[in-house]
Amino acid sequence: MPKELWKGNEAIAETAVRAGLEAYFGYPITPQTEILEYLSRRMPELGRTFVQAESELGAINMVYGAACTGVRVMSSSSSPGVSLMMEGISYIAGTEVPAVLVNVMRGGPGLGNIAPAQGDYNQAVHGGGHGDYQPIVLAPASVQEAIDLTALSFDLAEKYRAICMVILDGCVGQMMEPAEMPEMKPVHRENWDWNTDAKMGKRERRVLSSIYIEPAEEEKMNLRVLNRWRTIEAKEVRYKEYFLDDAEIVVVGFGTAGRIALSAVREARAEGIKVGLLRPITVSPFPYKVIDQLTARADAFLVTEMNSGQMLEDVRLAVKGRVPVEFYGRLGGVVPIPG
């Protein structure tokens, strides 16, 4: 398809539609509201489900209900709204049903502001909801990547019966860029062996629940999810490398911070500094192994984020103290500028 000029949030919404999204449930919050607005028009046009919920609590539980029936479903929100959704996310994880959630992050904590930030890394990657679970978390740095990763998120969620989050910030959400859309896929209802879409004279009844009242049964469930996670870690790690072949200094940044870091890396290269960039695409599963391998030939790491140093801890875990790990971050919605 030819490239068109797309705004990040609207590109995500249209991509979800083309990926076969059957139902969207959301609540207005800046800077993601264009996703809700776009789908309020687009979904009914296609005879699909759109509901503006009474709250993010309502929205995520509508997602949960629809996910149990086995259809492609998503919600989107921004930081404070995603905090409210954490209860539902834990239940979705505990029930092992697929769902997609987009978080267009903003400055925080609390009400914070509506400027671009990455302060929800820990909440997304290390699980903001209660209990043992690991979400898949994708971090786009451009409108094109937001499109590609939104399409991927539905496949991953279904493949692993897991919650898949796409985390971006107001920069990518609000920015317009030329990008190529995927083809429209028809809505397709898979013949799952787990969904609760009523017996309809065809099968025994099914129950979907996150309750395992016997600890031994809960542990079995925990281990089942953990084993699935081991597969995800082995197969689904994605990242981009820039100038890493001879890099003595490795910069690590995700999303917008990674994209800004690339400009800085290019400037440094022009000055003859041997610096490269690793930009994780999946921040969960995190590319620990790649960083581990880079540690063997790098003199130092510089982590850059639009937060106080959250992914920094994961880089440190991979580096294991073998070389220095420095940090540069701007907080509260301040976007760093190279140079």
Partner: protein, 255 residues
């Protein structure tokens, strides 16, 4: 020669699992009425239930239909998600007063306001049963619970919420009534109401709810028989039985 006729059996809408409810609790009666209605309407195969958090958290073990289990209070939102993508299915929630009228008040009000085509069976037994009998939004003034040990003081602990009356003010509601389970006559009336609520849904006539005044002998600390008397003598006067909203289209339904 004498013949034996079986006049009372387990409804087809039930699984073989015995319920975990306390002796004398009316959850079992309410469950049975729902199962009988679903069976009589011939909709067991296309029904998806939504269980709450509370004493009826394991409701999904007892009904022979598909079931999902909601977070505390969120059943109407979850039911919305199910029903919107499966509009030809019958979707119901079964919720207690802590679940529906306390933590889930936002979800129930908005599901009703949107006119979601779901049926809500609301069990009002004036306390949080599962956690051991704490004060609920429906606890009567002066009623002793484990968190209102001197009796509910409305000055500091607020007034009970009359859910059926409140929801009946919303335009999205098609059918909203209160019944009681304290004697056979009222149980029969309750079953008729449950039937009408599901008929409302199957005809796409909007949100339907039946509030059922129920007993909790264990947490009330009185016998099952005295619990039934308590409902009749104390709860019915405070929570009057009646039809709070029946839309014109539903009044025409004859079953």
């Amino acid at each position: 020669m004498a013949t034996e006729n079986l006049v009372y059996d387990r409804p087809e809408g039930f699984t073989d699992t015995p319920t975990h409810y306390c002796p004398g609790c009316t959850h079992g009666v309410a469950h049975r009425l729902v199962a009988e209605v679903l069976e009589e309407m011939g909709v067991l195969e296309k029904t998806i239930g939504v269980a709450p958090v509370g004493c009826s958290v394991f409701a999904y073990n007892y009904f022979d239909t598909d079931f999902v289990e909601a977070p505390h209070g969120r059943a109407p939102a979850m039911a919305t998600g199910v029903k919107r993508v499966m509009p030809d299915r019958i979707v119901f929630t079964y919720q207690g007063d802590g679940d529906l009228a306390s933590i889930g008040m936002g979800e129930i009000v908005h599901a009703a306001a949107r006119g979601e085509n779901i049926t809500v069976i609301f069990i009002n037994n004036a306390n949080f049963g599962m956690t051991g009998g704490q004060m609920a939004p429906t606890t009567l003034p002066g009623m002793k619970t484990t968190s209102s040990p001197n009796g509910r003081d409305v000055e500091t602990q607020g007034y009970p919420i009359k859910v059926a009356e409140m929801l009946s003010t919303l335009d999205g509601v098609g059918y909203c009534v209160r019944r009681s389970l304290h004697d056979p006559k009222n149980i029969r009336l309750a079953k008729k109401a449950i039937r009408m609520a599901f008929e409302t849904q199957s005809r796409g006539l909007g949100f339907s709810m039946v509030e059922l005044l129920s007993t909790c002998p264990t947490n009330w600390g009185i016998t099952p028989v005295n619990s039934l008397k308590f409902v009749e003598e104390h709860m019915v006067p405070f929570y009057p039985l009646g039809d709070y909203k029946i839309s014109e289209a539903i009044k025409q339904i004859k079953v």
